[in-house]
């Protein structure tokens, strides 16, 4: 029962006969587009933590399942019909980077967001048209400010976005719940599902 409540799109996706292996997605875009223009059923692509996915496929929905203290950021340009989803978990790469080579730029707010904006720019999205929705930044109960990574993630994200003159359309931040953030590339609608609380669509 819970599964159905939480992943309605997932169920719809599996029920449709057009099951396309997520892994093969990038290699087979053309075939898929042909398929979906004939039968417009949405494809779901999972954006795991410390991943970034950009899409211009209007049949596609990007989903970041199970966001904890990290934050899911969806940005969408309604005119160009492109968008993307970033799922990062840490605020600042310089704290880790000084010691090791950064093999996971999408794990951090700073490097992840810069790469995100650059990638959107490459597919002709305009910064001033971007609709930004963020969800996550949860914390363990009684997590004090020093150790509160969720809060730090939020602060880091806000400061980067304001530096880039981006305003946040909708945010669902904090608390102790797990969240799921979806972005429908066609409509630009983002859906935030919070465990035990239902769903918000913006």
């Amino acid at each position: 029962m819970f599964k159905f409540l939480m992943f309605p799109t997932d169920i719809r996706y599996k029920m449709s006969n057009l099951y396309v292996d997520i892994k093969n997605r990038s290699t087979d875009v053309q075939m898929q587009n042909a398929l979906f223009s004939a039968n417009p059923v949405s494809v779901m692509t999972a954006v795991n933590f410390s991943e970034l996915k950009i899409s211009a496929n209007t049949a596609e929905t990007l989903v970041a399942f199970s966001i904890g203290s990290g934050i899911g950021v969806s940005m969408h340009d309604a005119v160009a019909k492109v968008g993307g989803l970033l799922n990062f978990v840490l605020p600042d790469s310089s704290k880790i980077w000084s010691e090791r080579e950064n093999r996971f730029p999408y794990m951090f707010a700073d490097t992840g967001l810069l790469a995100f904006l650059e990638a959107l720019n490459n597919v002709d999205a305009k910064t001033k048209r971007l609709k930004v929705v963020i969800a996550g930044g949860a914390q363990i109960l009684d997590q004090t400010s020093d150790f509160n990574i969720g809060l730090k993630n939020h602060q880091a994200l806000i400061s980067i976005l304001s530096r880039k003159n981006l305003t946040i359309q909708h945010e669902d931040i904090g608390g102790s719940q797990r969240r799921t953030l979806c972005l429908d590339i066609d409509s630009g609608c983002s859906t935030i599902q919070t465990a035990g609380q239902g769903e918000v669509r913006v």
Binding site: M1, F2, K3, M6, F7, F49, S50, S66, I67, G68, S69, G70, V89, L90, P91, D92, K95, I96, R103, F104, M107, G136, A138, Q139, I140, L141, D142, Q143, T144, D146, F147, I149, G150, K152, S176, Q177, R178, A195, G196, Q197
Partner: protein, 283 residues
Amino acid sequence: MTNIEDIISAIDTLTPIPPVAAQIMALAEDEYSSMSDISDLIVHDPSITASLLKICNSAYFGLARKVESVRDAITLLGLDQIVELVLLNSTAENFKDEPDGYGLGEGELWHHAVLSAHVAKMLAENHGAARKKHLIFTAALLKDIGKLIMGRYVAFSFEKINILVGSKGYSFNEAEKEVIGMNHEEIGALLGEKWRFGKKLVYIIRNHHMSEEACRDDAETALVYLADIVCMMIGFGTGVDGLAYRFYSDVLKRMNLNDNDLQKIIYDTGERRKKIQKLLDLV
């Protein structure tokens, strides 16, 4: 309130972990035991031997020659890896059934268990508990085994639990205790006693959310607790309970960890995740 006897009797619906797993763990930590002691123990259990050889010969390890005996496997992959594989293999069966009630997808609890076990082991190696790493690995792997039993009781009382957590400031395990009369730590520990786990292992399972103040001094429990916290924060295998457990900064301070160290641990966990995903598909 649910009948406690009912919950306890549900332990018998699970498949007990073979005693050989516990014996192997004990031998691996005993500095006087030899490699042949351990391989002797494994070869006497045909099902463990068979699955061990199957895993060792899989593409994941990419070994140049075929592994044909347990001794071969230990020489090629190292004792640590073999002990880990045996432990994973003997616990996997129960976890693969999806526990309803915690809102977890198929295999999510198992993935969480394996990742937190690896993180706990990594922490043990980095924080002066390397000698106990197999115990800590196993404890982190089995800490949430109580959820397999509690699942349907939580599903039944979820509304009440959700209210206590959402608006009364309860943590999820406190709310379980209040509404159902028992939480997943306690039933996990009872299960451990019934299946004759070692004393320390039962202790860690019972206290892995560190609700009792007395256990916050315990170094091994602290490592398992920290691994659990980190996995929750990255959102790996968390269910409807989410992050609704208590954070004790004094536990981290006692381990000399500050917030930068915590961020590094999260980074290392993320790094490890991709590797583990491949391992999970095997076991």
